[in-house]
């Protein structure tokens, strides 16, 4: 086992564990913190697999922006953790689904021959990544950005209506 493999497995374990912890934490803030750790480790995994740009994006966007918004909301509404311990049957579907996916994962790893073949790690430099994305997938990218634009305009519109109704202050 190379240093490379060790790093991979450690990171993978961190991702799985912290995600699991994020799910089972009762304190919302703690869940958020574990999720951040998970994203951070995922970013490192990307880096390990030769995609530094993706790694950076993962951290910036998921850990740095989306989770901050989560945190922001949790802090402002001050969601308290429920004191009551959940009934066991609430966990049942999750447990069943988890067992099934573990089983499928096992089958996937040990039985499907594709998992045995070596995978070459290509260094996805930012420019290569950009070239690839905008040359092959310019249309989906444009559609996605258009959707985002619509979302942005919509949010702006809703926000404006809200503030106009309010009062005279010109913020």
């Amino acid at each position: 086992m190379t240093l490379y493999a060790v790093t991979f497995y450690v990171l993978a374990a961190i991702v799985v564990l912290s995600t699991l912890l994020a799910i089972i934490q009762r304190q919302v803030i703690h869940a958020v913190v574990y999720l951040i750790v998970s994203f951070f480790a995922t970013g490192l995994l990307f880096y390990l697999l030769g995609a530094p740009f993706l790694a950076a994006l993962e951290v910036i966007i998921y850990a740095g922006a989306i989770m901050v918004l989560f945190l922001f909301i949790v802090m402002t509404v001050r969601a308290e953790s429920g004191e009551d311990k959940g009934e066991i049957y609430q966990w049942l579907p999750a447990v069943i689904l988890g067992i099934i996916s573990l089983f499928v994962g096992g089958v996937l790893i040990f039985e499907i021959p594709g998992s045995k073949t070596g995978l070459s790690t290509g260094m996805a430099t930012p420019s290569a990544f950009g070239q690839f994305l905008f040359k092959n997938y310019w249309f989906p990218v444009e559609i996605a950005s258009f959707l985002l634009l619509i979302g942005l305009v919509g949010a702006l519109y809703l926000g404006r209506r809200e503030s106009r109704k309010g009062s005279e202050d010109r913020r």
Binding site: I29, A56, A63, V68, M75, R171
Partner: protein
Amino acid sequence: MLLEWILGFVFLIVKLTIVLIILLTVAAYLVWVERKLLGRIQARYGPNRAGEFGLLQPLADLVKLITKEDTVPQEANKGIFLLAPGVVGLMALLIFAVVPFGSGVTLWGRSIPLVITDLNVGLLFILALSSISVYGIALGGWASNSKYSLLGGIRGAAQMISYEVPMGLSLVPVVMLARSFSLVEITNAQSARPFIFVQPVSFILFLIAALAEIKRIPFDLPEAENELGAGYHTEYSGMRFGLFFLGEYITMIILGSLIAVFFLGGWHGPLLPPIIWFLLKVGIIVFTLIWFRATFPRIRYDQLMNTGWKVLIPIALLNIVVTGALVLGTS
């Protein structure tokens, strides 16, 4: 092969240690410099009791901070409360890993680059880490279980994610011109002409956004003493407060370095050795930051948000489009 690897590793450790020690010392003395400068700007002496000219003041501060009682408020979320200052300090230190402070020296036949690691996505790395350091503030504020801290934390989170966008966008033209995310590459791209002359708009945008990002006056709303006590670190004491403090001053140095690297041509300069040039540029920027602090009043929260979203981002976007067009046109 193995020897080579071990040697490289040893060099790395030595380099890390030297940089870390210098960085911490400089950060500590930066406190002294700032207090001294602020004092003089207000026609006072500033610290002048501990040692000649108060030069031992940082040491005294350190002793004080370490020996002070480390209090944790009742009902505070203890784990997160203890973790938060660490996040701030660590992220600040990590950013410095990709900052090049010289062109590289040759020692015992080995060429040693004067950067801890020349990451190919160095710029993104910086952005990523600065976005992570939001957590130190937000979580610290939340975990203190104090209304001042919470308000400080919320303000900090909102301010930092708002200004991350213009900060990132203002750097896009730089990347376009340098055609690389690597900080060394960007520095080298300015060997002839620093980007400040090519991209003055970018420079001003970055300066403003970065000031807001490191929460210095006039953007120190998360700590606003007269409204929030000390904002997110109201409840911290002793060395935990010291970590917040340290983080702030390291980020000042980092901001100086980044502006030097992105806009002032890094270590490039005539006559003087590169490292001196670099330090000079950093020093000028840091002085400017202190000068700003001595001059400008804190801006209002709505003004902060309006400036960020309605002024800086559109200008940054416009700047990207114009730069892009020019770059396409010239190539």
